[in-house]
Amino acid sequence: MSRNLLISGVLSILLVIGIYSSYQRWFQLDVRLYHYLLEQIQELRVSDALLDKSILELRTGISLNYDHVNNSATAMRSISTSIDLTVESLPELSESVTKAIDGIGELNNARFVDLERYKSQHAIYRNSTIFVQTQLVEVVQEIDDKSIVAAIVEVSDFLRDPLLQHKQRKTDRVSSEIDILSEYADANSDNHVLISIVRHMRLLQMRGDDISSTMTSLMSSGVTGSIDALLKLYHTELINVQDRVKAANIILSVVAITLLFMIAFAVSRIFRDRKSLLNLTQSLENRVKERTADLELAMIEAESASESKSQFLASMSHELRTPLNSIIGFGKMLELNHEEPLSPDQKIAVGHIKNGGAHLLSLVDEVLDLSKIEARELELSVEHVHPAHVFGDCLELVRGLADSKNVSLGALMESDNCVLADYGRLKQVLLNLLSNAVKYNRDGGSVNFGCEALSDDTVRISVSDSGNGIPNENLSEMFTPFNRLGMEASQIEGTGIGLTISKRLIEEMGGRIGCESEVGIGSTFWLELPRSHGNALAQPVATRETQHRVNPLLQSGSVTGDILYVEDNPANRDLMKMILGRMGNLTLHIAHTAEIGIVMAEEVHPDLILMDINLPGMSGTKALSVLRQNENTKDIPVVAASANALPHDIRTAMESGFDGYITKPFDIPVMITTISNLLEGVDVDKGQSVSVANNSSRSTRVALDYAPLGELDIGRILSAVQMLPPSYRAILENQANSIPVILRELQHVSSTQDFKAVETLAHKLKTNSGTFGARQIWSLAQEVENFARDEALEEIPRLLDDMEKEYDIVAPVIARLMADLEADANALNSE
């Protein structure tokens, strides 16, 4: 649009220029020619006057030179010619003017004819006149006859004055006198001059009328009048022409102004368009900004909604965990109270309470799991996993259930395929699938497993049951949360989110999960995982299933110190009192609020503070910062004790300066470990020797035995033991056994320059020793690994020697630990 306007503007300008130049050609030049013609006519008028003047000079005898009159005539002639040429180039000239000019030309030509005639006559006339005049005196002197002389004088006088020539009354008399003179001359034929005079006189008399009439004709040629008339006429013409030019000027101006307006309009349109375009762009930008802002707002809202959800889940789990804490904790306390053993019935009842609590807790944990996954806070440790091993673990767990339902479990497919997965999570998924397969199986049904490599990159693991199958229309809803597909009313327990969690976990590990089912025949759940071509750590399939039990270590007190517990919930306070009471020489101080806790901390100066986060009034976090600011209390370790179990909460708490974090319901071993660690640490930090309690408790003894070694991180071992599922005790054992083997292999390999092997072995050693908290071996292995990676083996023999020595110290401790665990497990089994 704008470009078109621009083009039309340019064209308009060109048009204006074109019109102007044409206008110059069409009008301006003509006007000049018109003026030129006027000039020429005026010149003609002047030359006409000059010609008349010359003629009059001739007539009056002022001049006898015809050159002058000729010049005047020539000038006039050329002006006439020039005028004719001009007229030819002025075709628009009105006819009246052309005719007038033509008329003047004709008149002029007639006059020129007269002029030539006049010149000829004039020459003769003047000649005769002069001749008569000049010869007169001489002739007269010779003539005696007075009458003749008088006649001669009279005639000559008469003839001399051209103005008198036309006086008719005298003409006759002159004529007769000439006749007399002629007779006289004839009589005196010897007087040649007289004869000549008479002849001249006769000639003059004869030609007198001719020259007179020629002169009259010449002077009354009408040329002058015609030129004047022409001038008058031409003035009118010229005014007309000028009016026309003026009109043309006006038209041109109008056209030019119009075009200029058009151009201005075009330009303004261009600018307006541009402006509106700018406005449009601006408004678009604004709208985009608004939209972006909206989206950001929506995003924030969505995030906050998600946050709310997380908050909801967190608070839910908190709210659920708090009562569960009491249920399970007190249940356990009842069970473990050896001083007042429960009756068998009570034991069964307490067992139900505990189991119900545990189930509820697992539900809460699953929900938490899901929220973790959704919050992308799931931490996966993907490694080479042998699915068969995982199956092995899982089978043990579901065997009891399967037996109770009379479901036969198929043999594990022998397969060397390894997958890349997080071992624990994969196990969680498979356990879920297996337990589903058992739970929803028909009585006396079977469960089969498969593991096959679909391709070079993918391994499919499948679990098939012989249940009722799932209608196809329900398949798509299999993995949606809280959808139990009509099983809600059934006897079978379930949260409805197990498959959802499984799906999320598998997808997090880069795999797929799916289900194929045929109603009446059964269902097959499969999952596909990235195939691993490495070697999975040889992990023996756990063959023993144990229940989750309280670590015997914790059955009696083993550490000393003052502990301040800030807690508003009486149930928790009581539970804590009981737990710590079992731990030995620990003095527990209780505060109901943070404010009281702070005062007490200053007064008592405990060795450790357990701080609930969610306190009425001042929060635990706030209380921590107050304690830290106080010179007297700032060094006291503070452990958070909270039902907030979300990773986020724990991280926040740790960042705000807590020395530890224990979640409710209290995992008693973890709690004891944490407390012990911190109390030990306090002792070390204070440079004091470890105070050894003379407690004969086995667990305490073990702990005490470990402690002075210094090389083993007792807390690490305990947490490892406690946090791993029971089946992992086998792994621990395996790892413990593998340490000397690896050391030997290292000794062997280090002499072969096989850096890669050294590095791998060192890494393995590091992992295995780390499990037991054997810090020295771990750091030595790290060094060996680093050297191997750098292909520098010089230091390795020395490091190996150091490791050997270290292992000699650690090995008995580990052996004893393993033995204790073994014994503990056996003890539990035997119950």
Partner: protein, 374 residues
């Protein structure tokens, strides 16, 4: 284009005219004619009249009242030749070559100079010239010297300009029997002429340029410096007694009545045979003898001829339009008899001839060695 032609025509035609004093400078003034037309007209008239008022040579120069008759002083209608006009030398040279170019004629043998022999007074010394046809043409070839100052051309004045005059001999079957087209072809065939026309006329070889070149050359054929011119310019002692006597007779007898002006002739027509019947006496009258009649068709113009210039008359025998008079003394006598009604005695004729010889001027062709005219 048209206008510029008109301007060219104007400037070439009126060259030297006093009227041209109204030049283009006045253009702007004249443009305002609506306000001051009458005033401007009057002013122009007055100015032009003032400028054009002639100063006669005789008035100024013939001041010796004692030695020269009153009528000579009063208004002897004669004047000395002007200076040779300033013309483009190149064009004049080209004109000269064309003037002498025989290829302009049909048979390639006749040039302008064939009949206008510059070295012999500008004519051919024959009663009537012979052209390509070998026939004699009707009239005597007039001299080409000072030709430009004639008021018309040919004996009967049928050409008003030199350029028009050239058409006559070029086309006449008895003279050059050619045409401008043929002449242009001839000139186009000549590298030399092409070069000249390239240089002088932007390569335009046309009737106009050829005529212009020849006319320009002819304008240079001015024979100034004659004894007569020097006499009337003030050198009173120059004339011999006979010459002075002849001049007085020339004036008093009436010769000057027609042989006057700058050329002593060439500025009017006059009847041959005023007092006596020349053609009756001569007999054998042909159309060529009708003179002006052949041009105007008017009976009263019969036997009227252009009065020929007397400049260099001593060199241009034979005389009269029919070339019938071989000697100057004879033609003086004849002129006096037929035109003035006088029978001159031998003394008068001798004096007149002596005077007429003072009219011989100088020109490089006439007097290649710079000789004084006799």
């Amino acid at each position: 284009m048209i206008r510029s032609c008109a301007l060219d025509a104007l400037t070439s035609e009126v060259d030297g005219g006093a009227i041209l004093a109204i030049g283009n400078e006045r253009y702007e003034m004249i443009q305002k004619f609506r306000v001051c037309t009458l005033f401007g007209l009057c002013l122009i008239g007055v100015l032009a009249t003032t400028w054009a008022t002639p100063l006669y040579a005789a008035d100024v120069n013939v001041v010796n009242e004692d030695s020269v008759p009153i009528y000579v002083i009063a208004g002897a209608p004669v004047s000395p030749l002007p200076e040779k006009p300033a013309v483009d030398e190149g064009i004049a040279e080209l004109g000269s070559r064309l003037f002498h170019e025989t290829r302009l004629s049909a048979n390639g043998q006749v040039s302008c100079a064939s009949c206008h022999v510059l070295e012999q007074g500008g004519d051919d010394g024959m009663a009537s010239s012979i052209g390509v046809s070998g026939k004699q043409i009707g009239t005597n070839a007039p001299t080409v010297f000072n030709v430009a100052m004639n008021f018309s051309f040919f004996w009967d004045g049928r050409a008003e300009t030199m350029e028009d005059q050239m058409d006559g001999p070029v086309h006449s079957p008895d003279e050059m029997a050619s045409s401008w087209a043929d002449i242009i072809d001839v000139l186009n065939a000549s590298a030399e002429y092409q070069q000249s026309f390239d240089d002088l006329y932007d390569g335009e070889i046309s009737e106009r340029t050829i005529k212009d070149a020849i006319a320009t050359f002819q304008r240079t054929l001015v024979t100034g410096g004659s004894k007569f011119d020097r006499f009337i310019s003030g050198d009173r002692t120059l004339f011999s007694a006979a010459e002075l006597q002849g001049y007085e007779s020339f004036m008093s007898l009436g010769c000057v009545s027609c042989h006057q002006g700058v050329l002593l002739g060439g500025n009017l027509y006059q009847r041959l045979g005023i007092f006596e019947d020349y053609f009756g006496d001569r007999g054998n009258v042909s159309a060529a003898d009708y003179g002006r009649f052949n041009v105007t068709g008017a009976e009263e113009d019969r036997y009227y001829f252009k009065v020929p210039s007397l400049r260099n008359v001593a060199l241009t025998a034979p005389y009269l339009h029919d070339g019938s008079v071989p000697y100057l003394a004879d033609v003086v006598s004849i002129m006096a008899y037929y035109q003035l009604g006088l029978s001159l005695d031998t003394n008068q004729i001798e004096y007149l001839v002596a005077f007429l010889k003072t009219l011989t001027g100088t020109h490089q062709y006439l007097n290649p060695n710079g000789d004084e005219p006799s």
